[in-house]
């Protein structure tokens, strides 16, 4: 690989890494936040209708 324009190649791949990393991080953090919020509701005894029906004998 010739090194004439190495800076441009590094910049392009660095931006791609930041974009992909950001997408993955956002997906993981957002999913965890929603899971936590759901668990909080369950802990307070607030349940969806389908859950309540399933819990009834």
């Amino acid at each position: 690989m010739s090194g004439g324009h190495m800076g441009y190649i590094v910049a392009a791949y660095a931006f791609a890494a930041i974009t992909v990393g950001g997408l993955i991080l956002r997906a993981v953090l957002d999913h965890r936040a929603q899971q936590r919020a759901l668990a909080d509701f369950e802990a307070r005894g607030v349940q969806r209708r389908s859950r309540r029906k399933a819990a009834q004998p």
Binding site: M1, H5, A16, L23, Q34, R44
Partner: protein, 262 residues
């Protein structure tokens, strides 16, 4: 046909979708990581320099998949928009909403890597030619769609407004694709998917296809993950509304109770 419909109906149940996607997602994400690792090894250790562009041809291996995905994700959003408007299916709304930020990110990646590639090859970061401008318009449409999702609080009302905007914005997709054929642009014409076959040498084409497959699986994995999160977000919203209703009813019951006792 009836069997296909029943499979679709079964998949369209959010709880079943969550269970199935939980099983598929790790495999898909893992395969994407393997393909991208192999692709990067090919790009940096196997692919020869281009006889005109030198080493900068390596930018193609992220720029072209990002460009394909910017169009692919919009096409997927358009399919979901039809699902929202025709069948009013909540999972179609969820698919639309989850795809928009991923599509915007890949469109931005396409524009930025294209600009970085353009400087050494064309001598400029940007020109207002038809391909570049229509791709920028695509980014603005994605951002408008994300903004519209945030502007309307009720999810199904937001989904219908976004679906109409998505269908209108689809006009731009063939313009992006065929701009290099319809107008005289600085951007080169299609060189992979074209009548008469690819004009790229096999030593460069195969690594490009491996990278494209890796990026596509990554985008689909992110989309599935985003859909799963959006389903949970809607459940959280429903529970917070339910809790608010319960709080409103509680003092009324306390006031009514003594009267009932009499």
């Amino acid at each position: 046909m009836a069997e296909n419909n029943s499979i679709l109906t079964a998949l369209a149940n959010p709880t079943r979708f969550l269970a199935l996607s939980a099983r598929v997602l790790p495999w898909m994400a893992g395969l994407s990581a393997v393909l991208l690792a192999v692709g990067l090894w090919l790009v940096f250790f196997q692919v020869p320099d281009d006889y005109q562009q030198g080493a900068t041809v390596r930018i193609m291996y992220i720029h072209v998949p990002a460009a394909w995905l910017s169009l692919f994700l919009y096409a997927m959003m358009t399919g979901s928009a039809i699902g929202t408007l025709v069948w009013r299916h909540p999972l179609a709304d969820v698919a639309q909403k989850a795809a928009a930020p991923i599509g915007a990110a890949f469109t931005l990646l396409c524009l930025v890597t294209g600009s970085i590639w353009g400087k050494p090859m064309w001598g400029t970061w940007w020109v207002w030619d038809a391909r570049l401008t229509s791709e920028l318009v695509l980014l603005l449409i994605y951002l408008g769609i994300i903004g519209l999702w945030r502007a309307i609080e009720e999810p199904s009302a937001a989904a219908r407004a976004v679906a109409i905007m998505t269908l209108v914005g689809f006009v731009n997709i063939p313009i992006v694709k065929f701009s290099v054929d319809w107008w005289n642009t600085l951007h080169q014409p299609a060189s992979v998917f074209r009548l008469g076959g690819s004009t790229i040498d096999a030593s460069m084409l195969w690594p490009l296809l491996v990278m494209a497959a890796g990026f596509t699986l990554l985008a689909v994995s992110l989309h599935l993950s985003g859909m799963r999160t959006e389903i949970l977000r809607r459940r959280v919203r429903a529970l917070s509304l339910l809790e608010a209703q319960q709080r409103e009813r509680a003092p009324v019951a306390a006031v009514v109770a003594p009267g009932v006792a009499r």
